[in-house]
Symmetry: C2
Subunit: 322 residues, 2 copies
């Protein structure tokens, strides 16, 4: 046996295959997700995927050379739709083509956009107010309604959240809410994609985006717009050299990574459109998966924690086998 840390996989998009030759009990979170019936998996529409292609690593043959594709799933309504509408327009205008990754701050974020800050934006982008960081009308949005406040709206509520009255899952996404009332907002976990902005009351257009590559910066919740999450290829962002200027900005132009294109997936040729699905957070399989994340019963563990924070329960997402 290899002398190694055997602890199971933490990344949302990786599922450990069950070992076929041993009828091992289904006990790890990954095994539970992999064993979920097909009906518990929900296809992600190509129209909700943003596909970012980075130029190949200029440093030559290595595991990091070759195509670098990052796939981002956009949040569903009612969350952040003003900014997401702008992102759709920017992608349709091919606005990001030729822009770059300008900032990589360790244990924090990778940020991209127009380094010159002079590129004209497409017309018709919305200026979204700060009030939309939170969906206060969530309960009346028609998706989930009923008495009981926020707690009734979320599946698999996480009892203990340091940043909110209640955290839990809704339609495949981690969210937090006030214990009383109907305020719900998306949360910052590893891989979360948000909108860079200037000082308040600016909320950003969506042209400048970032992805979280460190411990969940939950202090950003309700302070900045969350628009999606990286579901594939985050290693192409998280392994980039860190910038040496303040806040992880690159000093020299040559340090930046070129973005060759960003497209909504349904603009790509059909054969190239990525197909992903997520484990329904309203399914029994997900409830068992979340329980197993909080109470690890894989053979490696000797002592289950008895709890998990919401960002340590990544929603399983996988590529659809073609």
């Amino acid at each position: 046996m290899k002398h190694l840390l055997l602890a199971a996989i933490a990344a949302a998009s990786l599922i450990l295959p069950a070992i076929a030759s041993e009828p091992a009990p289904i006990s790890s979170p990954g095994e539970i997700a992999a064993a979920a019936p097909a009906s518990d998996w929900i296809a992600i529409a190509p129209s909700d995927l943003l596909v970012m292609d980075l130029a190949p690593d200029a440093k030559g043959p290595s595991t990091r050379s070759g195509p670098r594709r990052v796939v981002i799933q956009l949040m569903p309504a009612p969350f952040s739709q003003g900014w997401i509408g702008n992102i759709r327009k920017l992608a349709a205008a091919h606005w990001w083509d030729g822009t770059s990754i300008n900032r990589v701050q360790d244990n924090y974020v990778v940020q991209w956009g127009d380094a010159t800050e002079k590129k004209a934006l497409p017309e018709g982008l919305a200026a979204v107010p700060e009030s939309r960081y939170v969906e206060s009308r969530f309960a009346s949005a028609g998706v989930h309604a009923g008495a009981g406040g926020t707690e009734r709206l979320l599946s698999v509520p996480v009892k203990t959240d340091a940043y909110s009255g209640l955290a839990g899952f809704w339609s495949g996404w981690p969210v937090a809410g006030a214990k009383e009332g109907h305020d719900v907002w998306p949360v910052h976990c590893y891989g979360t994609v948000g909108v860079g902005r200037n000082m308040s009351p600016d909320t950003g257009s969506g042209a400048e985006l970032y992805a979280v590559i460190g411990h969940a910066p939950r202090h950003l919740d309700r302070n900045i717009a969350v628009v999606g999450r990286v579901i594939s290829g985050i290693e192409h962002l998280s392994s980039l050299p860190r910038g040496t200027e303040a806040l992880g900005f690159y000093k020299a132009d040559a340090e930046r990574t070129l973005i060759t294109s960003i497209r909504i997936a349904n603009e790509l040729p059909a054969a190239e459109q990525p197909e992903f699905e997520y484990l329904s957070t309203e399914s029994d399989s997900f409830a068992r998966y979340a329980d197993a994340r909080a109470n690890r019963r894989d053979p490696f563990f000797i002592r289950p924690a008895g709890g998990a924070d919401i960002c340590n329960i990544p929603v399983p997402v996988r590529a659809v086998a073609k």
Copy 2:
């Protein structure tokens, strides 16, 4: 103004300098730490620093070329001293020289040691029992004693922890404990260094180590030995190419990064010994810093969270100006 995400620095080892030309109010966590009196900073003995040097990046001139030095602070007694004693012996024997980084799993860990698994260990390493993952004799260790259970032992207790009855800080380190009684254990945050192991009851010798490079894997607490934390140079680990085999192991020998040496710092020439200090977690400055992490008052923020998880309150550590 640059159109960017201005949120303040998350990495423990980076402190934003106050802007000298503006008498801005001290409000951000970094400003509070930087303004702390010298007496609130505690020097870290070179004998408690592990210095790991990696071979230069073979891919040639880039921001990632040049020396790659990673500095790890070892945990103080009473925690994990059996494993740390082994680590001191391994370093004194220069055992890691010529070994390599063998595993980089995104949002999880970087792991290093002897890839051949055939290198003989020095004699006299201890086999430490699992019971030492937790210090159940903590209250009688003489450092802090008194009535009131664990809560009295920790400074700046974090009210809400998903993984334990109570989390807080002790002598510069984040720890968790049972609400009742005297069990205390170190926790896994970004940068935490732990000991790889085989299946229970093996606890690892300390020859195989890992550093956390993702969201806090708190489910590993009490399941594996925590021996320290990276206080400088973690970007040399976190930006390494991810391994493509299961659990992030590298496939080919050439993908591994060579470790040229690992030393306890006091074995280095005096001029080369790194000097660091940490902000006393028992100081008023730290209490205000932690409060500011939970209630961000920097001008960027419009809505303080009202809380923070323990791994989002990194203990400030800085190099001593020579």
